[in-house]
Symmetry: C2
Subunit: 219 residues, 2 copies
């Protein structure tokens, strides 16, 4: 499974790159700048203790990957997708991990949009040949980046293309103690994005950092 | 703690009545009809093996209770609150457990409203002297009604009145293996109501009945 990260030089990209690389997947960090992509990949390899993550410019990463994770900060998500809408070869899957939120004095607020979730807005920007899957939204980025911390939670995966969703779930199942869960259609991202804001609220209220979700009663 | 149920003769009311009564709380099932209230309370007492739940007309239940749980079917919630808006003595807390959803061929859909969540709409109907708290939304009603099944999940409690929220959390902590969690302001009901729809989807997809939530990383 070839995992690419579109705008993968931030904490979210690093976390996802590290978890997949540690699980044995081939990973490429993409960036507008080849230099920044390389620097981020070297940081990952230092944490992994082996050279397994590569850095490429976004265009080359897009051509290489099977699954492309959109890991730019959420306020740049639309812009990044618009910039690359014609560069993503058909058959690739775009995995949207972004959550549109705002902080007011540390308090998180979900940025509600009439059109629905961020994932749905992104899907409308892309040609039908590039299915969008929402995933990893509810898992704290900094926790993903701490390889020594077990995740022990659920990976909610939503999307309207069953095959694309299945691919992302299969990829997610490589990561130890993470359980992929089929969260239904892409519109479920409306729920998942809000759940992230709730988790951040819980972290703040209970002075924790890694609040995340596990469904009871599925076994 | 005096627990009352407004329109408590359905499965949701029965489940909440049973869990609180089993935990030692005083419980009154309210209904428009005294006869139906009594029948529902007798059903609860039969399940409990002792006479601990009483049935009263809604008006008398409202005068007696500390916490009033709104347990009518969600499509009747507004109507029930409107009918009793002037009958709830100040200082009582209304606990909204309803989730507005629709089923299309078994598929659950959340009924989005511009005004936000059901809990927020209900709060706007009531005088400021009766705070509204959202809780128990994500816990399956039929599971609450099966006293022999441990809940082993979180009770998300949201509201804008800290004292009222605290009262509901304290009440919830009486129920074994249920962990009350402060889910923030009443607007968090937008998240919690959608989480219920997601849990119903998961039940349907995985052929289960009791999907519910537990936050990892709070201990």
């Amino acid at each position: 499974m070839k995992i690419g990260l579109l705008g993968g030089t931030g904490i979210e990209g690093k976390g996802i790159a590290l978890r997949f690389a540690a699980a044995g997947a081939e990973v490429v960090v993409g960036s507008r700048s080849e230099e920044r992509a390389r620097a981020a990949s070297e940081e990952c390899n230092a944490a992994l203790g082996r050279a397994q993550v590569r850095g490429l410019r976004n265009l080359e990463m897009l051509a290489w990957s099977d699954l492309v994770f959109l890991t730019v900060p959420s306020q740049h998500a639309m812009e990044a997708v618009k910039a690359h809408r014609n560069d993503i070869p058909s058959g690739k899957v775009l995995v949207d991990v972004t959550v549109p939120l705002r902080f007011d004095k540390g308090r998180p607020t979900y940025l509600e949009a009439e059109e629905g979730s961020n994932s749905e807005s992104i899907a409308r920007l892309l040609p039908a040949t590039v299915p969008v899957v929402g995933a990893f939204k509810t898992i704290p980025a900094h926790l993903l980046a701490e390889l020594e911390s077990p995740l022990e939670c659920d990976l909610f995966v939503c999307g309207d293309d069953p095959e694309a969703k299945e691919k992302v779930m299969r990829a997610g199942s490589m990561i130890p103690t993470l359980r992929p869960v089929d969260a239904g259609p892409l519109s479920s991202a409306r729920t998942l994005e809000r759940m992230t804001v709730l988790a951040i609220h819980l972290n703040r209220h209970y002075k924790k950092k890694g609040a995340r979700y596990k469904i009871v009663g599925l076994d």
